[in-house]
């Protein structure tokens, strides 16, 4: 069961990565990042069966970080949208050197 869980975790993480690479909608990319976090959480929980509850504690931390990230990230996206009227990352290149 552990091996399967870790494999699933790797698969989900990869799907998240591919999503980040292929999509251009900022919110979707953001959700892909959440998926990656979830994948990592899965391996934490799976390994916590071996190493005690510390893994689950880390999942709690991950969730807190994810929540903080969602709050700030979405606020940034809203601010960008207000400015540019789009969340398509291709049209957002203020950081161009």
């Amino acid at each position: 069961m552990l091996v399967e869980a870790l494999a699933l975790s790797a698969l989900l993480f990869t799907i998240g990565v591919v999503g980040v690479l292929t999509r251009r909608n900022a919110i979707i990319i953001f959700m892909c990042v959440e998926l990656m976090l979830n994948a990592v959480n899965l391996s934490f929980v799976a390994l916590s069966k071996l190493y005690g509850a510390a893994g689950q504690v880390f999942v709690v931390f991950t969730m807190a970080v994810a929540a903080a990230e969602a709050a700030v990230g979405l606020a940034i996206i809203i601010a960008i949208f207000r400015h540019q009227r789009t969340v398509n990352l291709q049209n957002i290149n203020l950081l161009k050197g």
Partner: protein, 727 residues
């Protein structure tokens, strides 16, 4: 004492009030928070309103001081608007802490204290192998220190209510003082060296803040900085010692280190190095040669601060540390000899300077340095109980002396203040004959003087005698005698130590008697106008003095030597501290309790009494208070007097040897050559040019497309992961 860890709940103390020990440091912290908030809320004009402010260092006219007088002609200046709350909170938390300390002490007397009581509060730094908890270590040694800190601290807080009442920075003062007590309690209760170090640094900070309490005057601020910097040099030693401990023992818990230190070879390099570096830390904090010069300058702070921090508690932290680390020190006889020798040299050196000082607080400051030297002699020769005993009694009589001098200064300053005179309120040449004006202070200070001089049955006699006896006993039969320091056999070194200690005991008696004679006896030299204003200080100041006087007189009963077993229970403190330092002390004395023939011991005690009496008698015989003239009329001194009055020109020597060359070299080579030429020219501008070039190149890579960045990032991750996978 094998400090075997026993679980927290299993200790007999866990079921008593001692589990509230975490409240001890918390109470002063609470006081600090409250007073600090009040201080911030009611920021007042900061100025030298303290009696000793205009005399502490400047010795003369203070520019702008006349303006200070203008607004509060003869009346009391308005007290701080929060003065009432602060007067309640500041000493209040100390009273509560002291009450708790007494309760814990009582609980501790009721149980078997074979093992120390460890109370882990929370996990502090779980970093890799280093797993540090915030642990409180409660054992007889820390209990003794807690009693001294909270007890004497409480009295001094109460005294401060009177002494500082008119100061515009009243809440700030109490905030600092409370913070100091917090850190001091952290220092003595810390269960690991890093935690102890937090307290160690914290008291240093508070000392700095309080020395420079009237920071609007440069001299005071400079004195604070000097104390701070000299302490940093010592702290470097402490830090190195801690790093060495972690490198060699893999732990920083006090008990864990002690346990592992016992496994080391006797006199090995590791133990010696750690002990010497620890001692370097102690020389800074406890004002030993060569880092002692900050302590006399620290007298720039308010006098109660001098009493609490620079006499009773903080400066003794070094002694505490050596006793705390007795497990390491006892494995390193060479380091112990060093400690004893440095202590003895400091005791002698400072005593000679004390002979010729005119500033009453400076006399006491050098006396403190000298007495601290004594304590180091004691802990250096492995007589830890004697050292701690002297620490305790010294806390009593030196606090009494400082507070007494504070009340003298307070009264004198008030008198000068009334007549708009700007004479120095701390110079003994401006005092004299205060006996009739301040009878309570006068009698109490004489008690303290007799105690410090070593007159029998006063507390100082017992502790000092025990130190001298211990040194003598170890000359013949101890690990120290077998070791050698710089090619000199340990026995010889100890003989030198003993000689220096005896000589400084004699000088102690002389300069203390001198101070008393010049201050309280003979005709009054304050001035015609001021004389009617001289009167006893208010009760809130004399009250603590009376309590301290009682402690000074009877503190010796804490640890009565076997020789005088007739007057009370023998060796109370010794039995109390036995579980903590007993093993280390026995290690130094080769496993047997040090024992001198009865006749030898009697002879030593007789000699000590003779020295004390002779010193005082010599002072009374030679010094004629009537012949003194007020400071403004006094001629410049010459010859050896001048050297002693200027403290052997050590400060000037330091300036010539270290400070000025550093400044000059910095100015010419470092500033003009290195800084302006190489750093500015080559590195700053050159690297800026380089950075700009690289930046331009880099900016070409910045597409601004987050997607692209993600791609690049991912490819990097895959490369790294690949390298990690298929290596």
């Amino acid at each position: 004492m094998n400090p075997a860890m026993i679980p927290e709940g299993a200790h007999p103390l866990a079921a008593t009030v001692a589990r509230l020990v975490w409240l001890l440091p918390l109470l002063p912290l609470l006081g600090f928070l409250i007073n600090g908030t009040l201080a911030m809320l009611g920021v007042a004009k900061i100025g030298p309103a303290d009696p000793s402010a205009n005399g502490g260092h400047g010795h003369g006219e203070v520019p702008g001081h006349a303006d200070e007088h203008a607004h509060d002609d003869h009346g009391h200046p308005p007290r701080h608007k929060f003065a009432k709350i602060v007067s309640l909170v500041g000493p209040g938390v100390l009273v509560a802490a002291f009450a708790l300390a007494v309760a814990i002490f009582a609980a501790m007397r009721g149980v078997e204290m074979e093992h120390p009581y460890l109370l882990t509060l929370f996990s502090w730094m779980p970093v890799g192998d280093l797993k540090l908890d915030a642990t409180i270590l409660l054992d007889p040694l820390s209990m003794t220190m807690v009693m001294v800190v909270t007890g004497v601290g409480m009295l001094i807080h109460v005294f401060s209510v009177g002494y500082m009442q008119d100061d515009p920075g009243y809440p700030r003062y109490f905030a600092y003082l409370n913070l100091f007590v917090f850190f001091m309690l952290l220092l003595v209760l810390g269960g690991s060296y890093p935690l102890l170090f937090v307290g160690w640094e914290g008291v240093g900070l508070c000392s700095y803040l309080l020395i420079g309490f009237w920071f609007s005057e440069k001299a005071n601020a400079d004195a604070g900085k000097k104390a701070f910097i000299m302490n940093r040099i010592g702290d470097f030693g402490f830090l190195v010692a801690m790093l060495l401990m972690f490198a060699n023992f893999g732990t920083l818990d006090i008990l864990g280190v002690a346990e592992q230190a016992a496994e080391l070879p006797m006199g090995g390099v590791i133990a010696t190095t750690i002990a010497l570096f620890l001692f370097l830390g102690c020389t800074g904090k406890s004002a030993q040669i060569p880092l002692y010069t900050w302590l006399p300058d620290a007298m720039a702070g308010p006098t109660p601060v001098s009493a609490l921090i620079h006499a009773a508690t903080m400066v003794t932290a070094g002694v505490y540390l050596v006793a705390r680390a007795s497990g390491i020190f006892s494995m390193a006889p060479v380091a112990q000899l060093t400690v004893a020798l440095v202590g003895a040299a400091t005791a002698f050196f400072a005593a000679t300077i004390g002979l010729k000082q005119w500033d009453i607080k400076k006399v006491l400051a050098y006396s403190t340095v000298s007495q601290l030297g004594y304590m180091f002699v004691a802990v250096g020769v492995g007589a830890y109980v004697a050292g701690i005993f002297h620490l305790v009694t010294h806390a009593f009589f030196k606090a009494l002396l400082f507070l007494g001098s504070g009340s003298v200064i307070y009264v004198l300053h008030a008198a000068y203040h009334k007549t708009h005179n700007h004479d120095d309120a701390q110079d003994m040449r401006n005092m004299g004959g205060l006996r009739q004006y301040m009878p309570i202070t006068f009698s109490l200070m004489w008690i303290a003087t007799l105690a410090i001089a070593g007159i029998p049955l006063f507390s100082g006699f017992f502790s000092k005698d025990e130190i001298l006896t211990s040194v003598f006993a170890r000359i013949s039969h101890s690990t120290l005698a077998d070791a050698s320091l710089l090619g000199m056999p340990g026995g010889t070194v100890l003989m030198i130590v003993y000689g220096l200690a005896v000589a400084s005991a004699l000088m102690t008696a002389i300069y203390m008697a001198r101070m008393m004679l010049y201050t309280f006896h003979g005709p009054n030299r304050t001035g015609e106008g001021e004389r009617p204003h001289l009167k006893e200080a208010p009760w809130v100041m004399t009250g603590p003095l009376v309590v301290l006087g009682a402690l000074t007189a009877f503190g010796g009963w804490l640890n009565v030597p076997a020789l005088l077993g007739a007057i009370g229970p023998v060796g109370g403190l010794e039995h109390f501290l036995e579980p903590v330092v007993g093993e280390a002390a026995l290690r130094t004395t080769l496993g047997v309790a040090p024992h001198l023939p009865h006749s030898t011991e009697l002879m030593l005690v007789g000699a000590a009494i003779f020295i004390a009496v002779a010193g005082i008698a010599f002072a009374v015989w030679r010094l004629k208070p009537a012949a003194l003239v007020p400071r403004k009329d006094a001629p410049e001194s010459t010859g050896i007097d001048r050297v002693l009055e200027n403290k052997y020109f050590v400060d000037e020597g330091y300036a010539a040897a270290f400070v000025n060359p550093t400044v000059n070299a910095s100015r010419t080579v470092l500033w003009k050559g290195f800084d302006a030429g190489i750093i500015d020219g080559l590195f700053v501008n050159g690297s800026a040019l380089l950075a700009r070039a690289f930046g331009w190149m880099g900016s070409q890579l910045q597409t601004g497309q987050v997607g692209t960045y993600a791609w690049v990032l991912l490819i990097g991750v895959i490369t790294l992961l690949g390298a990690f996978t298929f290596r």
